[in-house]
Amino acid sequence: MHIRRTNLGSMVTVRNLKKSFGAKWAVDGVSFTVQVGEVLGFLGPNGAGKSTTMRMLTGFIPPSEGEITVGGFSMLEDPIPAKRLIGYLPENAPSYTDMTVLGFLRFAAELRGLRGEANKRAVHRVVEMCFLEPVIHQSIETLSKGYRHRTCFAQSIIHDPQVLVLDEPTDGLDPNQKHEVRTLIRKMGESKAIIFSTHILEEVEAACSRAIIIDRGQIVANGTPEELKQRSTYAGAVTLRIADGSVAQVRQKLEQIPAVAKCAVLSTTPVALRAFATNNGRDLARAIGELAAAERWKIEELHTEEGRLDEVFRSITLPETKREGNP
């Protein structure tokens, strides 16, 4: 095994990465690490610098400043062995449209150093994994978007890479295909270091073990989806619905509980309120339950909110972004 590792544990290390296009900093001091067994979700509004970061990470564009290490190899000084470890699905899943699916995959495998029998096996494996069997001899330009996407995805995993970089892997797929891709990512994430970008928040909850939110070229949040949801004002809030009683009275009683920061009325008949917690504790529901028992309210619904990722996303990325599309 000739692979040098300077930083055991993290497969991908990015330090203070910067990229300017003219006077504008597309990526402005991004640092993160990804370990094997981790699926890192890259979130951010359009033009936040997600694609640019991924292009630098995969060695397509050189950074203006900063360091990238993949499996111990510097992407800037020793790019070939670093690139060998990476599988990459670029944005919009490009492919040579004049080739057949089989020809394209064999070509990709050959450039990855797979020849002869190993090439055939690798192609066969990804064709099965990505359900490409029915179109294997078809020219790529005749394929639907879903198949084209999967063909490019197949290319990225053809050498069973240790690092997988996927730029919007579910973009343009139908709900079933999206589900398949997410399942595949989660499964492969057990033995690889995966980084994928998306602007679909449910995807982060479905497939990621950690998420980074990037805005205007800077990381504004970094944590597990649960940790991020804790940042939401909804985290720990309790929704209460009771069969009868007056809203004003119930509200007054609720606001007397010390852990309740404020109360919002959802509806008056039936009486429904939402109590927001001061600290993100989970004991608010119990306190309200005890209160309800003492007041003999007829509870129809009582549940604790988990926090909403979309609200966190909106509150930390700047609203009314005056940016163009992805660079």
Binding site: G37, Y88, E110, L114, R125, H159, D160, Q162
Partner: protein
Amino acid sequence: MSEAILERSANAQTVTDASAKPAWTDALRHILTIAKREVSGYFASPIAYVFIVIFLLLSGFLTFMVAGFFEHGQANLLSFFAWHPWLYLFLVPAVGMRMWSEERRLGTMELLLTMPITPWQAIVGKFLASWLILALALALTFPLVITVNYLGHPDNGVIFTGYLGSLLLAGAYLSIAAMTSAMTRNQVVSFILSLVVCLFLILAGWPPVTDLLTQWASPWFVQTIAAFSVVTHFDGLQVGVIDSRDVLFFLSVILFSLFTTSVILRAHRAG
């Protein structure tokens, strides 16, 4: 971590093994892989067939109908090769215009250059593939060689150097087309740019232009300009003289243009 290494399949093992071999065999394999894909791309689309047929028709028409091959009554191919600088002027940029602009338009450049290969391997592989198509078209003019040998006793050495010159000329034009195609994602722009550059390389040494220049410029200036012309170096090879300077000229045009291609591609990636 160690688990992850153990879990790596036989595929990944092969990749590691391949890296242990000398770098140049790897480089050669990558160049061949890319060239192979490129050639199959030319034949998957009508480009290769259209180019070959049009080249053969036009060169036949120009040789026999315009230059009067038979009227000369000479057993040589001068009237055939004399047209090549002009014929290639339109046909070679048409073959080369998609080389990099298509990669940029489709976005496959991102795929290609994030593979574990160097940009040079991609540039050389793509160039050689297109050159092979041009060489194939040129080789298909062999009936002409048979004809002159049947009709008379030509100097086949001169014919050989003629073909060599023509192949080098096509390579020089093609490298310029590669360079201009790296500049833009638009094939038409790429075509026109390379045509203009190639036209300059012809005109700089074309007798009507050099004659005009001598009327007001000093001879050394005219000679310097003419030294940059493909015509000056092409003509030498047409009379059976393999001057190393002529061969070197074409090879340096090719090297320079391919080097510039790599600079343009790097600048494009750097933003």
